[in-house]
């Protein structure tokens, strides 16, 4: 078994601010993902990484940067927070392209 940790749990930012979310996994998985979930909606893929130092854009990458610093960690940066934005950002990992496991999420509010 393993666990995925996301920090912070809650993130409050100001319009235009650069904000960084972090994800750590101890499954020893190769692949990691960042998704965004708006209230009452499904998940949309922002970035994924199939190995250390790899980055692949998802359908929602505009406005975000990502960094896969090492196998166990994957960071997401909101490059310029949008006023009144509210969403949950979910990190996941998997062995290659197989079953994904999710972290608890970071809840973003922009004032």
């Amino acid at each position: 078994g393993g666990i995925i940790t996301q920090t912070p749990k809650f993130l409050i930012g100001q319009e235009g601010q650069k904000l960084t979310l972090k994800c750590q996994q101890n499954f020893n998985h190769d692949t990691m993902y960042w998704y965004r979930q708006d209230s009452g909606k499904g998940l949309r893929l922002i970035y994924y990484s199939i190995t250390e130092n790899d980055l692949q854009k998802g359908d929602l990458s505009e406005g975000y940067d990502a960094s896969r610093e090492k196998k166990s960690s994957f960071s997401l940066t909101v490059t310029s927070a949008q006023k009144n934005e509210m969403a949950v950002f979910l990190c996941a990992s998997s062995r290659a392209q197989y079953e994904q496991y999710f972290g608890p999420g970071t809840r973003l509010t922009v004032l």
Binding site: T31, Y33, Y35, K41, G42, L43, R44, L45, Y48, I50, Q56, G58, D59, V88, L90, A96, Q97, Y98, E99, Q100, Y101, F102, P104, G105
Partner: protein, 109 residues
């Protein structure tokens, strides 16, 4: 792009009854996952299928790649089954998963 159509969008069940949730795919998928999202927002893994049928307790899931659909059957529904159920699918040679919009299930006593 690849689309995943999930139905129904919402469902109410009385305790002890059952129903089926469905995902239809607009392209051939190699694998599907089913999740339950609870009231805290956590995604709980229910099934991962590359083909065929899997069963776990009161839940059963089938994936038919050739006919581009997957189903999740819930029987003897309990109050703790309430939540939103998502399917996510990936096509051949692809690491990306596309999620459906979810089915909001409410189990009533």
């Amino acid at each position: 792009g690849d689309q995943v159509e999930q139905s129904p969008s919402a469902l109410s069940l009385h305790e002890g009854t059952g129903s089926a949730l469905r995902c239809n795919f607009t392209t051939t998928m190699r694998a599907v996952q089913w999740f339950q999202q609870n009231s805290r927002g956590s995604l709980i893994n229910l099934f991962y299928l590359a083909s065929g049928t899997k069963e776990n307790g009161r839940l059963k899931s089938t994936f038919n790649s050739k006919e581009s659909y997957s189903t999740l059957h819930i029987r003897d529904a309990q109050l703790e089954d309430s939540g939103t159920y998502f399917c996510a699918a990936s096509n051949t040679g692809n690491y990306k998963y596309v999620f459906g919009a979810g089915t909001r299930l409410k189990v009533i006593a």
